[in-house]
């Protein structure tokens, strides 16, 4: 069979049903194979968005997302989603066309060394040099992308090789890779020591992250946290792994986390980190981060342990394996819950003194936080929410109380503006029965608005709730607070007319500027068939608080 057909067969053997992409010269053979293959191809309008859609698909479903692009500019347009998938550990496979092998290295038309360009931002990449490798590399790519700490894998396929005739039989079992043996089971001795330290801790905090979601270990995590009255906080990537609200829930931690969560970290004597990586948005000033704490660090990636914060009890393993063992060991010790009394008293004091709050407008003006609360009510807190990056993302994290994992899809690590719309498209393709809402920022949405065409063309009924404040709001906030109100290039101006723009692409366009109409508008948008954009005009200069200024310590939160 033709190697390009074998590529499609290998994708199907891996359980793929949907691929996102754009054709071009160098991947013509693959698209010719897709003509007959039993795969649904979602035709994006920019390769970056094909990549983010694949990420959204993967984040919403836990399955590997697949994106395709042609050589040269098609492939370089994938760099951002590849880097994004690397930072957030999203299982994804990117298949790029490459120029013919006789043209490689000659600066041929639409040639770019995409394996070279993406080297620092892939979990692994495979450049095909023999047509027989094509299906094998697809299987290897899926294995690597989806196991251990997930991530993006690139397969670069020269045009001539994908036209060659090869024999193909799907592989059985997992591919043999001599240098790839991801750890799974945690060391039981280490787990026991961790349980014994936790049973002795008087001011413990459980700090969870996206690793719990990636491991599909939310149940195990909840079970572990409920072994005792252990205070729980999550990173922006982990939201949903533990239900909010809950009496043990401190709120999100980090730069825009709650004071309670950040103060608890600051005063903790033992921090149990599960599937998170002590990112600078969590630690603030590293030298003053959690100065009284000892650290248990559970992660499937050994390189994360002691990378930023030295771990006292490192545990390498998959959260789904380690957490049940931790729970068992901890319970067997019959720890005395009353030792946590004082700690909870202190936490309750913070919660009472510093609740998440904002001042609502006295008139019809819509505060952005109010918009998130309205969205929570309109969707019964039960939608898949995607977001872009900036203030609206942080407000969503603060005010939309996620109770289940894989409901909150955002670009946490790379912080990619424009992630929300394509991710929503991918999520809706993966989970057609769920309501998928993209809470967009107006600065971000305009970067990817050509994807309105994708949703309209394939009739993917996503809803975009645009938090329109006419600014790059987070940058405006920083210029106000830290750059002497010298506002430069943060205003978006009057254009575009968003409802008209959406309608031009075949969407339903709506607008809301009055608080009293908002919930009803959202309801209408959710009940309208097909893709809908609801342009919501919110306060232009609202700041997102509380916050840890960059480089400051948690106890120096402002706002």
């Amino acid at each position: 069979m033709r190697a390009a057909d074998a590529l499609c067969e290998a994708l199907k053997a891996e359980g793929v049903e949907h691929v996102f992409g754009i054709p071009g010269g160098a991947n013509l053979p693959t698209y010719d194979a897709l003509y007959d293959a039993d795969l649904v191809h979602i035709q994006a309008r920019h390769e970056q968005c094909a990549g983010h859609a694949a990420e959204g698909y993967a984040k919403a479903s836990g399955r590997v997302g697949v994106a395709m692009a042609t050589s040269g500019p098609g492939a370089t347009n994938l760099v951002t989603p590849i880097a994004d998938a690397m930072m957030d550990s999203v299982p994804t496979v990117f298949v790029t066309g490459q120029v013919r092998t006789d043209l490689i290295g000659t600066d041929g038309f639409q040639e770019a060394d995409v394996t070279g360009i993406t080297l620092p931002v892939v979990k692994h990449s495979l450049l095909v040099t023999d047509p027989r490798q094509i299906p094998d590399y697809i299987h290897e790519a899926f294995h690597i992308a989806s196991t251990g700490r997930p991530g993006p894998v690139l397969v670069d396929v020269p045009q001539d090789l994908s036209r060659a005739e090869i024999d193909y039989t799907p592989i059985e079992g997992t591919p043999e890779l001599p240098g790839y043996k991801p750890p799974t089971e945690g060391n039981i001795k280490q787990i026991r020591i961790a349980a014994k330290a936790l049973a002795n801790a008087r001011r413990p905090v459980i700090y969870g992250g996206g690793g719990i979601v990636n491991a599909d270990a939310s149940e195990e995590f909840r079970e572990f946290c409920s072994s005792d009255r252990l205070p729980v906080t999550l990173t922006v990537m982990g939201l949903g792994a533990f239900p909010a609200p809950h009496e043990q829930w401190l709120g999100m931690l980090g730069m825009h986390g709650t004071r309670t969560a950040n103060y608890a970290m600051d005063e903790a004597d033992l921090i149990v980190c599960v599937g998170a990586r002590f990112d600078d948005r969590i630690t603030g000033k590293l030298s003053e981060f959690a100065p009284r704490a000892k650290f248990v660090h559970i992660d499937v990636d050994p390189a994360e342990i002691s990378k930023n914060v030295p771990a006292h009890i490192p545990i390498v393993g998959d959260a789904a394996d380690v957490l049940p063992k931790m729970t068992r060991e901890y319970r067997a010790l019959n720890p005395d819950s009353s030792r946590l009394e004082e700690w909870w008293k202190r936490i309750r004091d913070w919660q009472t003194t510093y609740p998440l709050r904002y001042e609502d407008s006295p008139d019809s003006e819509i505060k952005p936080q109010f918009m998130v609360e309205a969205m929570y009510e309109a969707t019964d807190g039960d939608a898949i929410i995607t977001s872009d990056v900036g203030q609206h993302q942080m407000w969503a994290a603060q005010y939309y109380h996620f109770t289940e994992p894989r409901r909150w899809l955002n670009s946490g690590g790379l912080g990619t503006m424009g992630f929300g719309l394509p991710a929503a498209i991918g999520a809706k393709v993966a989970r057609p029965d769920d309501t998928v809402v993209c809470l967009a920022g107006d600065g971000s949405l305009v970067m990817v608005c050509q994807e309105f065409a994708t949703a309209a063309f394939h009739n993917i009924p996503v809803k975009v709730f645009l938090m329109n404040n006419g600014h790059f709001g987070m940058v405006r906030q920083w210029q106000e607070l830290f750059w002497d109100e010298r506002y430069k290039s943060v205003e978006m101006g009057p254009s575009p007319n968003w409802p008209k723009l959406a309608e031009a692409f075949g969407w339903t366009g709506m607008q809301c500027t009055d608080k009293s109409q908002l919930r009803e508008s959202m309801q209408t948008a959710l009940e309208t068939d097909g893709p809908v954009l609801l342009d919501v005009h919110v306060t232009k200069d609202e700041n997102c608080f509380p916050m840890i200024p960059a480089g400051a310590a948690a106890r120096d939160m402002v706002g």
Partner: protein, 185 residues
Amino acid sequence: MMGEPGTQDLVRLEDLEASRQLTGRKHILSLLVENKPGVLARIAGLFSRRGFNIDTLAVGPTEDPDVSRITLTLDGAVHPIDQVTKQLHKLVNVIKIRDMEPDGTVAREMALFRVSAAVESRAEIMQFADIYEAKIVDVSRRSLTVEVTGSQDKIDSFERMVRPHGLIEMARTGEVAITKSRPEH
């Protein structure tokens, strides 16, 4: 009391210590990698983007044609070696990494020195070569080219000896290393 596994004693938090990050000495890392295109670029790229500095690097074949050996040295006073090896392990083409124990390792480097050798200093340079068990591999009227093999220290020391005579050019391979075989019983 550390609350050993198997006992009911709890672990006192005061007793917990995090492992030290910097070792303060030179490390030789010996990597077995798949002999595939781009592997060296992956390793070099990893070092540059993580801010690790390689002191020396040597690449060559092994007894298995599918496997190459990369020997590199770096400074454990500057870099957390543990973090370096863990990052290297994440590269799919890296099969095995050994942080070579100084006492259990034979490490050698080869270097070529072209030294200006006027008639009056020629004898002294040749004497140095003799002491260092080096070989004269090329001679011209104005210079001598000397081949030295040995530990990094030995080559450093030879360099110090000949530099005052005028070191025209120097080429060093970087160390390669192999573990010593255990004494047989």
